[in-house]
């Protein structure tokens, strides 16, 4: 299981290949990729800045992977999250879960995304026509996350 925080982009196919080559027993892979949308609450987005808490962020994501592994029979998983300056259409986050069967992979990937959204210390700032503004946390994310409790 792998957690990476990086400024550079990631290649979903390469991350999948890395897991596949060491696990011939895998039957299912579910990937979630989050992208910078061109429209936010304050209108058209020109740029996004992502900040994190080095050390805590990695440990938090590793703990989520351990929990996903305990709750579902997954074979392997990778989380890559970008920080720094991003543009509309850019990839932000990859959650990749490999398992024997598809149900476990779907459940674990959705769990990881829901909990990442409310627990992992990342903060987004958007540049719109009105200038830079910090993105507000969403009540819907809190609700989705608490359903896994």
């Amino acid at each position: 299981m792998k957690v990476v925080i990086q400024q550079s982009d990631f290649d979903v196919a390469r991350e999948m290949a890395e897991i596949r080559k060491s696990h011939p027993e895998i039957g299912a892979m579910v990937n979630f990729v989050g992208l910078v949308r061109d429209f936010g609450e304050a209108g058209r987005v020109r740029e996004m800045m992502l900040e994190h808490y080095p050390g805590m962020t990695e440990r938090c994501l590793e703990a989520l992977l351990v929990e996903a592994n305990e709750r579902w029979k997954i074979v392997d998983a990778t989380v890559v999250h970008r920080v720094g300056s991003l543009l509309p259409g850019d990839q932000i986050v990859l959650v990749l879960v490999a398992s024997h069967h598809r149900k476990e992979a779907f459940r674990a990937a959705e769990f990881l995304m829901d909990r990442l959204k409310t627990e992992a210390p990342f903060w987004k700032k958007e540049h719109t026509v009105e200038g830079w503004r910090w993105v507000d946390a969403k009540a819907s994310d809190e609700a989705a996350s608490s359903e896994w409790m």
């Binding site: 808490y53 938090c60 409310t118 987004k124 910090w134 946390a137």
Partner: protein, 79 residues
């Protein structure tokens, strides 16, 4: 004790500061001390925020001592 700030709070308060704790103190008491500074301290800490102690999410009634690292930041918005 080192206090670190992130995101909107980092922009308002700076990246970090040191305060001296002579005994174990509840996080809520530390926050009350900061708010007593008034101005943007009062404004920003009247909005929702979260705390972590040594890199783990913590509740407001958790206790910190001088060797801990306390982080204060807005609700997270990654992903």
């Amino acid at each position: 004790m080192k206090i670190r700030y992130f995101a909107r709070l980092r922009e308002a308060f700076g990246e970090s500061e040191e305060i001296k704790l002579t005994a174990e103190t509840e996080v809520s008491e530390v926050a009350a001390l900061l708010k007593e500074r008034g101005g943007q301290w009062l404004d920003e800490l009247s909005r929702p925020y979260r705390v972590a102690i040594n890199g783990k999410m913590a509740a407001m009634d958790a206790k910190v001592s001088d060797s801990d690292e306390l982080a204060i930041f807005p609700p997270v918005t990654g992903g």
